[in-house]
Symmetry: C2
């Protein structure tokens, strides 16, 4: 049985926005780990609307406040869709800015605690999906360089018969409870996550 405190850091997809069960994928994989008898304390540090540069400014202080001398600390990140989102016709962050922020965050994270990265998901907007997919692939390359295991959310969720339809039932961006459950099921089967919590 593993004992650990895990900070889940990122955007609205981490916070579980629009999940009527108030669990998101974070709560679902946390509950699944507890059902496997692990003593896990998940800390949900997702904030709606945040880009990678906003996350870069706050994550370390928040994660430090949640460490314990008695239990191992771990970090899981997910962000990117807000970076690639257009607001008033302008992309919020160019890919180079996103990657610079992701490098800053993930290099500091993995030098401090075991770290995983969950890639950003697809949604109901084809043009944005192309930008998110490109960013996700670039993040995968960055993570390979940094030695951070990367979970590709985009490809399996784009292929899922549940996920994108679930975002269309909400706001075209966020899934509902069924979509979060599908995403959680995929992450919970991921070898890097199961390596932490068999």
């Amino acid at each position: 049985m593993a004992q650990m405190r895990i900070c889940f850091i990122g955007d609205s997809f981490v916070s579980g926005a629009y999940d009527d069960e108030c669990l998101g994928w974070v709560g679902r994989i946390g509950a699944a780990a507890r059902r496997r008898k692990h003593d896990v304390s998940p800390y949900n540090l997702g904030v709606r609307g945040e880009t990678s540069t906003q996350i870069a400014r706050r994550w370390r202080a928040e994660a430090e406040a949640r460490q314990s001398a008695q239990q191992e600390g771990r970090l899981v990140f997910e962000f990117g869709v807000n970076d690639a989102r257009e607001v008033n016709g302008k992309r919020q962050l160019e890919a180079a800015q996103s990657l610079a922020a992701a490098r800053e965050i993930l290099a500091a994270a993995v030098a401090w605690k075991p770290t995983l990265m969950i890639g950003p998901p697809p949604g109901g907007d084809a043009a944005r999906n192309a930008r998110v997919n490109d960013l996700s692939e670039a993040m995968a390359g960055l993570c390979a360089l940094l030695g951070v295991p990367f979970f590709d959310s985009f490809a399996p969720l784009a292929a899922s018969s549940t996920f994108i339809p679930s975002t269309k039932a909400v706001d075209g961006t966020h899934p509902n409870a069924a979509g979060y459950a599908e995403w959680a099921r995929l992450i919970d089967e991921w070898a890097a996550w199961r390596g932490w919590l068999p």
Copy 2:
């Protein structure tokens, strides 16, 4: 339908420690509000083991990072049991220190955003329960002075046939899922909470 972002700030009882469903009372009252069709974004800022003086140091920066120009911000606090807990035979904070920290937190909070205070719960240790009950009563008085609605958790949970037995099934301090569900049910019926989210 109300739209709001609510920061829930406090200790392990806020974070939902030992709830195998990873909801705690925060997730349950959040999900209940969503079932009533409110667009609520709950942010769970509970940290295991924290006393009121530790919460005083971090809550404001964390709550500020979670505000939005588009949605109202609200604050809900719960803390106190760690203050009254003895570690190596010594109470972690004397009542006067707890009340000074609670005054600092709650006066700043209510001057900034609509604020509620949830009192600390009983557990399986009679001597600690006496200290927690005294602290809860003093907090109720402080909240009355500051104009912060206070929910007395102690009396109804001490009288509940579910709650204290549920803590004995865990670690003598934290409830299990059934105990959190009972606590959530009581808070969800509280007029001050329902005033926010009818």
